[in-house]
Structures are given as C-alpha cells and as structure tokens.
C-alpha cells in the first residue's frame, strides 16, 4: 500500500536496482563521469585554459580530442568541464529537492490558507519561462558557478513541491499520524519524522531526474555566454565551437557527447529508482519480487 513498506537489506536493494539493465548502465556511466570529474586535475595533462599546441588540430595521439582555435587541449577542457556540469547538476538538484520538500510538506500538512498561498506561489514558478528567467537572473547576479547553482535550484523546485504535497495530503490522514499525535508529538515531529519518510521516495525520483535538467540548463546558459568564465564547462566549449563547426567538428562533438551521456545516465538512474520504488511496473515481467513485499 505504502511505498515505504518495502524494507529489504542494502544488498537486496542493490540487487533489485541492478536487475534493471538500463538503470545499471546509467549508474555505470554516471559514476564514470563522476570519477573523471574528481580526478580531473590528476588525469588532465594540461590546464584547461593553457595554450599548448598549434590550434585546430584534429584528434591525434598527442591530443586525443584535438585542440581548439587557440591551441588548447580539448581533452583537458573536457575533463575540467565535467566537474562543472556534474557539480552543478547534483547540487542544483539537491537544492531544488530541499526547497520542494520544505514547501510541499509544510503546505500539505498545514493546509488551509497557508497551503493556498504556497501552491499559488508554486503555480507562479511553474508558469515562469525557466530558461529566459535564468538568463535574466544570471545577467543581474553574475555568472559564478554557485550563483548558477542557486538560480537553477530556485527555478526547478515546483514539481517536487507538488509531489510531496500530494503525498502529505493523503498521509496526514493516516492512523499512524493520529497515534503519533496521541503520544504528544509536535507538528514539527509529525512532519519531519512521521510523514516525510513515507513521502520522500517520489521526491527522490523527481530529484534524480532533475539532475539531467540542471545539467542541460547549465550547458544552455554557458552556451549563450552566461557560464562562469573561470570554470570552463561543456556548454562553454560548445559556444566557442559554434564558430568553427564547419572546419573543426571535434571541438563540438566531444563536449556534446559529454552532455548527452551524463544527461542520459542521470535520467536512466532516475528511471531506475522510480521503477524500484514502484514495484508494480517491472517485477511482473521479471517473475516476482526480489525481497519481501507487503501491500
């Protein structure tokens, strides 16, 4: 009945997740890029902005991804770019989940006029054209990476807020909430200790899908020149590449592949978690649940 009633050991959780092959692929790709990002300063042979060779060299042994118009190593840029994309993607998604959970849970639990106020606010944020507002805010507040993270986070919480709110609306009527009230629990305890753990799984799924969106939004912003000039991201590399598209395909293709693969991986992971928490969607095809299920 409740998604949270599925309780299995950690090993079983992993087995269940890994039984979904595309989700497994997603986590493999994502961890690959995370490792690249973490190790970038060690693996990269050059600093991303250093001019190291003749410009516009196609991929070769010395420069596996070629060099750009100014003679910078694209592989080094690619490695450092993954740091920006992944850190922005993860932290912005985390930020948006945090806001979404806070707004959704308080709104759903308290109901009444506070709920109305919060939900109209949420509608307002859904209505906003995200990308243009992000550009606008970047113009005002600057393009430093942490500002980009805050902007993306602030613009992408409404979906999570709505999901969490709807779970709270039904969960707050459950008997276990009444029994927690009967032992003298405060509203704070009821929201964060009793109800939230039961409502969190859709928020986590939504958040993991949000990672891909955040990466894409950041790439788009940098592509249009709203990226952090001190931290070259994949989008930033693409924006330089557009001028040389006809003569230097490698400048666009490699960062493009990076963006494509990380977003794909983030979405596969999100789908995987989603299917894991909604057992009905997959297990029937695979011949029964792994681990104990209670309905």
């Amino acid at each position: 009945m409740l998604q949270g009633t599925t309780r299995v050991s950690r090993g079983q959780v992993w087995l269940k997740y890994a039984s979904n092959r595309s989700a497994l692929l997603g986590i493999v790709i994502l961890s690959f890029f995370i490792i690249l990002a973490v190790l970038a300063p060690i693996i990269a042979r050059h600093a991303p902005f250093r001019i190291v060779a003749k410009g516009l060299q196609p991929p070769n042994l010395a420069y596996p991804m070629g060099t750009d118009d100014l003679g910078r190593d694209i592989l080094s840029g690619f490695l450092f770019g993954s740091r920006v994309s992944i850190s922005v993607g993860l932290t912005a998604a985390l930020f948006s989940i945090a806001i979404g959970i806070l707004v959704g849970s308080v709104s759903g639990f308290l109901g009444g006029s506070i709920d109305d106020l919060f939900m109209r606010g949420t509608d307002f944020f859904i209505m906003l054209p995200r990308f243009f507002l992000a550009m606008f805010l970047a113009t005002i507040f600057g393009t430093e990476i942490y500002i980009t993270i805050v902007i993306i986070g602030v613009l992408s919480w409404p979906g999570t807020a709505r999901l969490v709110r709807s779970r709270f609306l039904s969960l707050k009527e459950k008997e276990f909430v009444q029994s927690a009230r009967a032992i003298g629990a405060s509203n704070f305890l009821l929201i964060f200790r009793e109800i939230l753990p039961n409502a969190i799984s859709p928020a986590i799924v939504n958040g993991s899908l949000e990672v891909g969106n955040a990466i894409l939004l950041e790439a788009g912003l940098s592509f249009l020149g709203f990226g952090d000039p001190n931290n070259p991201s994949w989008g930033f590399m693409l924006s330089i590449a557009q001028h040389f598209l006809s003569i230097a395909w490698w400048m666009a293709v490699f960062p493009g592949i990076g963006i494509f693969l990380t977003i794909l991986a983030a979405n596969l992971v999100g789908e995987g978690i989603n299917e894991m928490t909604e057992p009905k969607s997959r297990e029937w095809r695979r011949g029964g649940p792994i681990g104990k299920q209670t309905t």
């Binding site: 409740l2 949270g4 009633t5 309780r7 459950k174 008997e175 276990f176 009444q178 029994s179 927690a180 009230r181 009967a182 032992i183 003298g184 629990a185 405060s186 305890l189 200790r193 009793e194 753990p197 039961n198 104990k292 209670t294």
Partner: protein, 323 residues
C-alpha cells in the same frame, strides 16, 4: 457508583458535534463519565454510538470537522478542554495515553518499532536516543515480546497483528500514564490473541496502578475485564453501573436487548435475537428518547421528552420507565 473521592477523570456534559456542510451531527451529546483510580471502565455500544468520539474528545484529538462544543474533562483538577495545546501535548502520551483499534495502520510503516517506542520516551522525558532505546527494549520485554533486542530493529510489517498490538501497548505505557484509553484494542485480532491482550491490560493496571478506559462493542470483553461500564446509544449514555449489576439486572430496554442478542456457549438458541431497526441518524435524531422507535416498551412520554440519566438501584439509567 460510590468512590467519589478518588476520581481519576471526570467527563461532564460532553458534547462533540461534527459540523457538516448543511447539518450538524451530534456524535456525543451530554455524556458524563467518571473513572476512578485503578479502575477499568468500559464504554459499550454499537458502531456509531459515539464511543470512539468520546474517547478521542478526552485527549482533544477529534478529527475535523468535529468539534467539542461544550463540556468539561476534569483531570487532576484541571479542565483539559481549556488548557493550551502545548500543555495538552505534554499530557498526551505521558499522563493519558491511547491504545488504538487497528495495530496494522496505527504504526508508522517506515519506522523501526523500537524507534516508535523511543520517540514517546524522548518527547516526554528528554533523554538521549541510546538510553531511550534501552528503555524501549525493557518495555518490549514487559509486554512479553520475545528477544526484544532483535525485535527492536524490526519494521511493523515484519510482525504479526498481536505483536503489533503489544507494541502499541508498549508505546502507551512507555511514560507511566495514570490513564490508558484503549479504543477497541482487540477488534482486529483473533480470539486467542484477544485474551492475551486483555489479560495484559489487566496486568498493566495492577502493576502500574493505572486506570483504563476500554472502548468496545463486545459485551463479553466488558464482562471479563471491566469494573464498571457505560452503555452508549446514539451519542448518549443509556445506562451505567457496575458490570455485575448491568448484566444481572439490566434496566434500560436497550441494554436488555443488547444482552439478549449475544451468543453464549451455555445456552442454546434456535435463532439469535436482535433489536429491531437501525441506529438512528445523528443528524436528525428522533425526538424524545433516542431509542424510542426501536424500544419494545415505548410509552407516550418517550416520544416527547428526553429522559435524564437518573440513579436507580445503584446504577444510572436514562429511561422513562424508571421515573
């Protein structure tokens, strides 16, 4: 009735109404209940008679759109209906605690049972988590749960219904309350487990010297466990008295009907007797005595005026036949 001196809880003229869109449902109307120290008091009645709402009103947990309109709930010299919500929270679980009907749904499915017991201890006694956990294990032991050090880390769905009910009891007694309200604690359990739970409640009463308010629809349970009982009908108390008196000499026609419609192993019945008709709608209850449309001894005045609860033969009865 007697023993007026050592009253644990006194409910006076309680009225809890549910305010629906176009109407008012009088779920509990002019109910008076006394519970003495170390006493097990039963509230019996059909479903919809207002017994659960009475119990919830005592702790001020009546769900929306219900509201306590008037009345007093006197506990340790204070009227609980007038204290601040923050004060009330300190009373709930610590002074007066509750055991609920359905152990399957009244436990949080994603919290370990040990944590759920520890939570109540932590709220009221402000002790550290580790110590609360040890107390939780002792409580599990006291409600006869085998190997508490393992069960403490179980989630509710890993336990049977009877064990879950014991967990709820463990939560209820965790802070040494002076009154436990048990709302149909055995309804969701099978008969053998019912016995265990009931004898556990009795044992708790003796061991911790608490009073217990037992809400049930089962006359057998009342006979087996309670000292006194209130028979409720359509939101009102129809009859009250010591359980023995109620069973041996029921005065109110409703109580008589209820007792006649129970099954007994000792006596053979060709056909089970029933009380004709249904519980009336509480939105527009019958004028006069609420039982009069179903009452076999209904007389003129029953249809016109509501009878008051008067004492008769050491009991209280609300019926015109005993004026």
């Amino acid at each position: 009735m007697g023993r007026l001196a050592n009253r644990q809880l006194e409910v006076k003229d309680l009225r809890t109404y549910f305010f629906l869109r176009n109407s008012v449902l009088k779920a509990v109307d002019e109910v008076c209940i006394n519970i003495g120290e170390k006493e097990i008091v039963g509230i019996v009645g059909e479903s919809g008679s207002g017994k659960t709402v009475t119990a919830l009103s005592i702790l001020r947990l009546v769900p929306f759109p219900g509201r306590i309109v008037t009345g007093e709930v006197i506990y340790k010299g204070r009227n609980l209906l007038e204290v601040e919500e923050i004060e009330m929270r300190k009373i709930r679980g610590k002074q007066i605690s509750m055991v609920f009907q359905d152990p399957m749904t009244f436990l949080n499915p994603v919290m370990k049972v040990g944590d759920q017991i520890a939570e109540s201890i932590m709220i009221h006694q402000g002790i550290e988590k580790k110590e609360a956990r040890e107390q939780a294990m002792r409580l599990l032991e006291s409600v006869l749960i085998p190997s508490p050090e393992i069960i403490v880390d179980y989630y509710p769905h890993q336990l049977s219904g009877g064990m879950k009910q014991r967990i709820l009891i463990a939560i209820a007694i965790s802070c040494g309350p002076s009154l436990i309200i048990a709302d149909e604690p055995t309804t969701a359990l099978d008969v053998t487990v019912q016995m265990q739970i009931l004898s556990m409640l009795k044992d708790i009463k003796n061991r911790l010297s608490t009073s217990i308010l037992l809400v049930t629809h089962d006359l057998g349970i009342v006979a087996g466990v309670c000292d006194r009982a209130y028979v409720m009908y359509a939101g009102k108390v129809a009859e009250t008295g010591r359980v023995l008196d109620l069973y041996e000499d029921p005065l109110h026609p409703y109580t008589r009907g209820l007792l006649r419609s129970t099954l007994s192993i000792d006596e053979f019945k060709e056909e089970l007797e029933t009380i004709e008709g249904y519980v009336p709608s509480l939105i527009s209850p019958p004028t006069g005595c609420r039982f009069n449309p179903r009452c076999p001894c209904s007389i003129e005045i029953c249809r016109k005026e509501e009878p008051k609860l008067l004492s008769k033969k050491g009991k209280g009865v609300a019926c015109w036949l005993y004026r």
